[in-house]
């Protein structure tokens, strides 16, 4: 793994995304680090710096994967560390990192297979000012059976860490504990947020946290008292955030108690269209716990999503020239209208201008209708209250022979966001790449080009 000294690898910047309400100035894409396999970069902003952490290496049998990170100067994205910070390099596999930004330090959490039998959840505190691992490699959920897929958020006083843990014979529950800024687990016993759920996400807004998780075909959620970590109530009338989009949940907040949940319906093309469309949906959860998208009718085979008859569609695959998904129809699936297919984990961040920003991946459907290639990261803005599009869709990473995957959007200083993602190009080492996004209110009649960051 080699830390790259501020290498600008592509110019996507200087592009002004003038749209209905917002403009986005996209900075140059810079490559932060290169290696054989750098997976799932995640970022956070605290103490005037960004921290980007990733999984370095493959986590399988007889291999090792570690957690590494680097601090970035926010105005230039120059690395502040001469070499990647070794957050955890224990034996066996450490994987799926997540980060929460505290007051002047970061909590990095990951799932850890060092016992060779099952996953535990562990973490480390990294100082924002120095990059020092102030509290290295401490256990957060270390018990028999799997504790996996951790996520974390800062409550203003401490961190709240959530994960999935086996309860009973074969069913995962969603659980959480509070962790101090010094890296001490504050709760003797974890709180159970859901008896059945997996792949949780967490976000804090004011005195409440929203914990959301996959629940069968639905996304479910609960409001949590941010200070005590105790469960307050399930969201909506039935505990659901939405009923048809459970995968890869990410959450952001508007600073006024409102949350936005973005999730994917993971699916893949097939010549008959049987798995249904890939889709990315956003769903609001208000400060009072109401969930307006809980009862949305997405239609048979998500036809109302394909026809965009529901307002919370960030992206969806559509069936060629039809606005209905016609799996198994004579002639099979010939492809989508635009030849693209949303795929993988989306990201979300607050723009500071009344909108949420979404990033997600689209792949190009290959002629055999079995595969995707040419992965790109796309950006959209949507009004927090009405879900109207405030920033039209545009590619912000990938292209020119390079795949961009696994995007993460981090709210930074003064209306800026940081986009981080995986970058893969044939014949080159894998990279973690980043770019600044500056979000502005659109001016009527604004020119289509503006100086880049």
């Amino acid at each position: 793994m080699k830390l790259l000294a501020f290498l600008s690898i592509a110019f996507l910047g200087g592009v002004l995304a003038a749209a209905q309400g917002l403009e986005a100035v996209v900075g140059n894409e810079v490559s932060l680090v290169e290696g054989d396999l750098l997976v799932r970069p995640r970022g956070a902003f605290a103490g005037g710096v960004y921290l980007v952490a990733w999984q370095d290496g493959w986590p399988g049998l007889n291999a090792t994967a570690d957690i590494a990170a680097v601090r970035l100067e926010p105005a230039t994205l120059k690395p502040l560390d001469p070499a990647p910070i070794k957050v955890c390099a224990a034996p066996e596999a450490q994987s799926r990192p997540a980060i929460a930004a505290g007051k002047d330090a970061f909590l990095v959490v990951w799932q850890d297979f060092r016992n060779g039998k099952d996953h535990d959840v562990r973490g480390a505190i990294v100082e924002a000012r120095t990059g020092k691992v102030a509290a290295p490699d401490f256990g957060i959920a270390v018990r028999p059976h799997n504790q996996a897929r951790p996520e974390a958020a800062w409550t203003g006083e401490h961190f709240l860490v959530v994960w999935q843990e086996l309860r009973g014979r074969d069913t995962y529950a969603v659980m959480g504990v509070r962790v101090s800024s010094e890296g001490k687990v504050l709760d003797a016993e974890p709180v159970v947020y859901a008896e059945s759920g997996a792949a949780p996400a967490v976000c804090v807004s004011g005195d409440k946290a929203l914990v959301a998780w996959a629940d069968g075909q639905a996304s479910a959620g609960a409001l949590v008292d941010a200070q005590s970590g105790k469960l307050l109530k399930a969201v909506g009338a039935k505990g659901k955030v939405n009923t048809r989009c459970p995968n890869d949940i990410a959450i952001a907040h508007d600073g006024a108690g409102g949350f936005m949940v973005v999730s994917a319906r993971e699916s893949f093309p097939n010549p008959w269209g049987w798995p249904g469309p890939g889709a990315v949906l956003c769903s609001r959860v208000n400060a009072d716990g109401s969930a307006p998208e809980e009862t949305t009718n997405y239609g048979y085979y998500l036809n109302n999503v394909c026809a965009r008859k529901v307002p919370n569609v960030v992206d969806t695959a559509t069936w060629g020239t039809s606005d209905r998904w016609q799996a198994g129809a004579p002639g099979g699936f010939k492809g989508t209208a635009d030849g693209l297919w949303p795929h993988g984990k989306p990201g979300v961040a607050w723009s500071g201008e009344g909108s949420f920003l979404f990033v997600w991946v689209k792949g190009k459907i290959q002629p055999d209708r079995l595969n995707l290639a040419g992965y790109e990261v796309w950006l959209r803005g949507m009004d927090a209250k009405t879900l109207a599009v405030t920033l039209t869709d545009r590619r912000v990473a990938g292209g020119a022979g390079a795949d961009a995957n696994a995007p993460c959007l981090v709210a930074g200083p003064s209306g800026e966001c940081l986009l981080v993602h995986e970058r893969v190009k044939a014949g080159e080492k894998m990279r973690v790449a980043a770019a600044r996004l500056n979000i502005l209110k659109a001016k009527p009649g604004a020119p289509s080009e503006k100086g880049h960051l």
Binding site: D36, L37, V39, G57, W58, P59, G60, L61, N62, A63, F113, G116, K117, D118, H119, H145, N146, A148, R149, Q164, L166, R169, D170, T171, Y172, S196, G197, A198, A199, W213, A214, D215, G216, Q217, N247, E266, S267, F268, N270, P271, W272, W274, P275, Y300, Y301, N303, R324, Q326, G344, K345, Q366, P367, D368, L370, N371, L372, N405, A406, M430
Partner: protein, 379 residues
């Protein structure tokens, strides 16, 4: 509204088909139980860990080593399963699909794959998503992935399969699982063409004058099949190939030495046990495996509801078969078998029967066993 009507029609048709089913259980049916061997009820995606905590995605393909270790392909990864039942990645990475060869630390696989032992300590991978045959083998102390035949960057063939060596060969859609003989020669059904792949990557179509069509006894060169996602294949005890010819609702025997294809069981529609020439299949047979320990073939359906055994000229149900059953686990005759997939036999006594039970686009690995034969849980 139209799609709702179509869905209702499909459900009605299924109910009618179920109503006409004839289930005849094996004589010792009440000694058998079904349990989940692996796969969490709600894993949230691909996940390593103990068997009942592991997470799978899409269909699965399982094969055992003589030691009792096993391999399982699902959702773009191949798991290694220890004798104790711990699932670890052997190749691939969740969510990162592709056709990159090389060390498993960065090789990528397609979303859907079948696997079998290659007879030389490695595995063949029928990489359906990438339309190629790949191999997992040990080299210099580690595992690597290499492409044996096929090239995903080439368009699929149009009218007839394209034979050749290595990347010259072109595949279209690998309906069946991949199987290999003791010499390491692999076979797979590509669309409705039977393709043979030698260990050095030479691909030959064995029924070039055949393809899609109704079943008949025919020379291999002109044999016709009608497979669709999930049509399976296995070797019989005498070295012939047996093909679960799913949409022809029959089992075909491919005598490779005599180059002759015959109808071994069926054809017949509707789930109907009985004499081999008078039995029927609903949305099946989808998969087939020869059980050398009980000297019978086990088969199941893709959208069916039972596991069945073909032995001594009779087809009998060995689990499920009751459409209204609720749970996978429990007495075999009451089990609710999901969308079926791969079969595998544990080489260790008492040779329990493993099968994929799919639900939607994921599923779990079920196990059929006789409690009386167990001397403590071996996993």
């Amino acid at each position: 509204m139209k799609s709702h009507a179509a869905a209702v029609l499909v459900v009605l048709c299924l109910r009618l088909a179920q109503a006409g089913s004839v289930v005849s259980y094996v004589g010792d049916i009440d000694q058998w139980q079904v349990e989940v061997f692996a796969g969490s009820a709600n894993p949230g995606g691909i996940l390593e860990g103990p068997a009942l905590e592991a997470g799978f995605d899409h269909h699965g393909s399982l094969c055992f080593l003589p030691s009792g270790e096993a391999y399982f392909a699902t959702g773009g990864v191949v798991f290694h399963i220890s004798k104790e039942g711990t699932f670890r990645f052997l190749a691939g990475l969740p969510g990162m699909y592709g056709c990159q060869d090389g060390p498993v630390t960065r090789a990528t696989l397609g979303l859907q794959s079948s696997i079998c032992l290659d007879g030389k300590g490695g595995l063949y991978i029928g990489d359906r998503s990438n339309r190629c045959i790949r191999r997992l083998l040990q080299k210099d102390g580690g595992w690597i992935v290499e492409t044996v035949a096929g090239d995903p960057s080439k368009p699929e063939w149009k009218d007839k399969p394209v034979d050749g060596t290595g990347r010259e060969a072109v595949f279209k859609y690998l309906h069946s699982n991949v199987v290999a003989d003791a010499q390491g020669t692999a076979f797979i059904m590509d669309d409705n063409f039977l393709r043979r792949i030698t260990p050095d990557g030479k691909v030959e179509t064995l029924n070039p004058q055949g393809g899609s069509g109704k079943p008949d006894d025919a020379p291999l060169e002109s044999a016709r099949f009608s497979l669709i996602m999930g049509g399976g294949m296995c070797f019989g005890p005498e070295g012939a190939l047996y093909v679960a010819d799913r949409w022809n609702h029959c089992i075909r025997k491919v005598d490779l030495a005599a180059r002759q294809v015959t109808i071994a069981v069926g054809p017949g529609t509707g789930y109907r046990d009985g004499p081999e020439k008078n039995c029927g299949f609903h949305d099946s047979p989808g998969h087939i495996v020869y059980d050398p320990y009980r000297k019978r073939f086990n088969t199941n359906g893709v959208d069916d509801w039972g596991l069945r055994a073909w032995q001594n000229g009779e087809m009998r149900t060995i689990a499920g078969g009751v459409p209204n059953s609720k749970a996978l686990e429990g007495p075999a005759r009451e089990s609710r078998i999901g969308w079926c997939g791969t079969f595998a036999l544990d080489p260790r006594p008492p040779h329990e029967i493993y099968f994929w039970s799919g639900h939607g686009w994921t599923g779990r690995i079920g196990r059929l066993y006789r409690p009386a034969e167990r001397k403590g849980d071996n996993r």
